[in-house]
Amino acid sequence: MKFDLKVWGPIIALIVLCVAGAFMNENFLSAANITNVLSRSAFIGIIAVGMTFVITTGGLDLSVGSMAAFIAGVMILIMNYLIPSMGVTVGVVLIGMAAALALGFVAGLLNGLLITKMRIEAFIVTLGGLGIFRSLVTWLADGGTISLDFDMRTFYRPVYYDGILGISWPIIVFAIVAILGEIAMRYTAYGRHCAAIGSNEQVARYSAVHVDRVRTATYVILGVLVGVATIMYVPRLGSASSSTGVLWELEAIAAVIIGGTTLQGGFGRVWGTVIGVLILSLIGNLLNLTDYVSPYLNGAIQGVIIILAVVLQREKRASR
């Protein structure tokens, strides 16, 4: 196999980043710091895995950040509502989790059906969703913050902070989602069908692929994963407000693109997305730990990296 920048690019970038970080700050590669970075990036990571399928199929979902905020708000309201009758119990937490997953499922299904059955552009549908969900959560919170019952918060906290063998739950869940995603993308008919639709929808249709069904499913999977991410996120802060999940959609999309999935669709790789997530969060972390560059420039640096990634990975023009 000859050296292929498209394959190795993201990996090399990650290694360079780690090495550079280790020189700049001795704490950068410490277990505590890595765990911290990984736990924080798990939400975006889980969502980005779902986003990889959507983008591979030639779609886009701008609504995920607002959707996460909305789901977090509703989940907290449901749990608060149940506590008086059921008390601070596992039952309430489970109902809250189920509600989050169900909401994600329904929201994803709505996106998917509007896009496939009503034939509205994915960009438009999910841009609408971005506004609607954000406004709904603001309304539910009456412009302020929806807070989880205090005792419940203590009870639910371990889901974010605990784990097994020193690895926190968000990291474990992210890893499982990523591994399942990678397998689905690479080794199942579903993943193949996503790439086929993203390459050429007509060809896929003439090849007996159920285009609408596969495409709707990508949005449903993403919705459910937003639910999963929210389940991990709520115990961290124990609240939701209009500023929850702001710009998550862009971070998720950026991670997917840095990972080498093509924005026009037709080719996607989940492991690349995972690396993309790591690169983005490690940069943010490094800026916080060192003082060479102001952390306020985080966004600018991320922007440069996204553009650079796309330039480097661009299909070499058919050699003249």
Partner: protein, 511 residues
């Protein structure tokens, strides 16, 4: 006569465009070896060879789309380097691509003038462009509105738009890569009239085709390529069609068509009152086990749409009965499950994923055979091995993107992909479009073998010889309706053409 007159003057006229010792590599793979030949003004030069011989690559080098790895291009006796297609166009060297290069969402007139729009001051001169487009299309006897979108017109119409685009540019060297692959012989005749006109005006023309009788009819000189190497260049009058075929393939060619199959089993498929909105009305026909049914008709007669309706690729109404049972087909997958597959005439837009590899393309239709929960990559590779041997697919390397295969080899891959679904009824739309004569013979034999195995085959073809040579029964369509049906002795050019043109009405319409 005219060709002979040209022959005399040829010796005197100096070449306009010449290739000297040109080689081309794609990565480590060499596809052209030390090529030499030239084009002269007022001469039609045909470049022929098997699929993957390097014809399109040669043409792209001559017109600046790609560069030569070695050797030089001589224009008017002086070496030139075309850095881009635009460089070549500025010198009056035009290429009409084998695969269409049209913007799907733009109109016909916008495509014809794309990149060189006429202007009146700052604004586009829409009226002149429209009139010019209309004139060009009229010359080509093509009845399509300049304002129609490319996505709405048929494949042969697209070909005519490509040709108008090149004609609008007043080229002095016109290079055409399989311009007639998508045309019926009547439509090709229209194109050849224009070619004759251009030749008389002193334009140098290079063209390629797998239809050798056409080459014989139109070309003054012929160059044969085999596996990227120059085999011969000779006056067309010195070569018979057999000579050309032998030089291309490197072996003697026997009969193109196997002896016809006359026996057929029970009726397996019965289609009644099939209608496809806007295209087909009230079409009924039957198909028997082990039968090869031909479908003839002019372009736009609804042949393709009828079959697409049947397999669920288009909305259609009507009743379908399979082995005596009613069958409802809502999408292509329903048809596949019932054992009916359709091989599209438009391999680029509907047949193959050009940016993916051969393996992904091969197994896409029949993917369920290769996956339980996970896809069995080994089985896929084995299937690819088998397809490469069985269909003689010639790829420069195994993980080549399908878009980089030569046109004919794409067609073979498409055929392999369709057959992998192990169908009982195979509908093939233009089975040999862009396929060389040696492979054509293989495909015809393959179709016969399938019929011999008890499968039923429907062949839609614009090549009359193909329908006549393969089918024992031919259904002729005209203006979206079944115009009639002929079988046995009546399967001949005369009867079919008359039905297709509406000169006679179907006599033995009922089966």
């Amino acid at each position: 006569m005219q060709a002979n007159a040209q022959m005399v003057t040829q010796g005197e006229s100096a070449p306009v465009l010449e290739l000297r010792n040109v080689s081309r590599f794609f990565g480590p793979v060499q596809v052209l070896f030390d090529l030499n030949f030239d084009l002269r003004p007022g001469e039609v030069h045909a470049l022929i060879g098997e699929n993957g011989a390097g014809k399109s690559t040669t043409m792209k080098i001559m017109t600046g789309y790609i560069g030569a790895s070695e050797g030089e291009i001589i224009l008017d006796g002086k070496p030139v380097v075309f850095h881009s297609a635009e460089d070549a166009e500025n010198e009056g060297v035009e290429l009409i691509h084998q695969e269409f290069n049209l913007a799907e969402q733009l109109t016909v007139e916008e495509n014809v003038f794309l990149g060189r729009e006429l202007k009146k001051g700052f604004l586009l001169d829409q009226k002149t462009m429209r009139d010019r487009t209309r004139d060009l299309l009229a010359q080509l006897e093509t009845n399509v509105s300049p304002r129609a979108r490319i996505s709405e017109i048929s494949v042969p119409e697209m070909q005519m738009v490509e040709i108008s685009k090149a004609l609008s540019r007043n080229a002095r060297v016109l290079i055409m890569d399989e311009p007639t692959a998508a045309l019926t012989s009547a439509e090709a005749e229209v194109l050849f009239k224009q070619v004759d006109r251009l030749r008389a005006e002193g334009v140098a023309i290079l063209y390629t085709s797998h239809k050798l009788e056409e080459v014989k009819r139109i070309a003054d000189r012929v160059t044969v390529l085999r596996d990227g190497r120059h085999v011969l260049t000779a006056p067309a009058s010195d070569l018979s069609e057999e000579d050309m075929a032998t030089a291309m393939v490197g072996r003697e060619m026997s009969n193109l068509f196997p002896p016809k199959r006359t026996e057929a089993g029970d009726v397996v498929l019965e289609v009644a009152n099939m209608a496809v909105p806007r295209y087909v009305e009230n079409a009924s026909f039957t198909l028997r086990r082990g039968e090869i049914l031909g479908i003839a008709g002019l372009i736009g007669s609804g042949r393709t749409e009828l079959m697409e309706g049947l397999v669920g690729a288009r909305a259609a109404t009507g009743t379908v009965t399979l082995n005596g049972e009613p069958l409802r087909i809502r999408n292509v997958d329903d048809a596949r499950k019932a054992g009916i597959v359709y091989l599209t005439e438009d391999r680029k837009a509907r047949g193959l994923l050009l940016n993916q590899g051969m393996r992904q393309n091969l197994t896409l239709l029949a993917l369920s055979q290769f996956s339980n929960v996970l896809i069995d990559g080994k089985a896929e590779e084995a299937a690819l091995d088998k397809a490469i041997t069985e269909f003689d697919i010639r790829a420069p390397y195994r993980d080549v993107k399908v878009g980089n295969l030569s046109g004919g080899n794409q067609q073979k891959l498409l055929l392999a992909k369709t057959m992998l679904a192990d169908p009982d009824i195979v509908i093939i739309d233009e089975p040999t479009r862009g396929i060389d004569i040696g492979t054509k013979q293989q495909i015809y034999e393959f179709i016969h073998r399938l019929a011999g195995e008890g499968k039923s085959i429907i062949v839609i073809s614009s090549e009359m010889a193909e329908v006549i040579g393969l089918a024992n029964r031919v259904m002729v369509m005209r203006l979206g309706r079944v115009a009639g049906e002929v079988s046995g002795e009546d399967v001949n050019e005369d009867t079919i053409v008359k039905l297709a043109m509406g000169i006679t009405s179907g006599t033995n319409n009922e089966v």
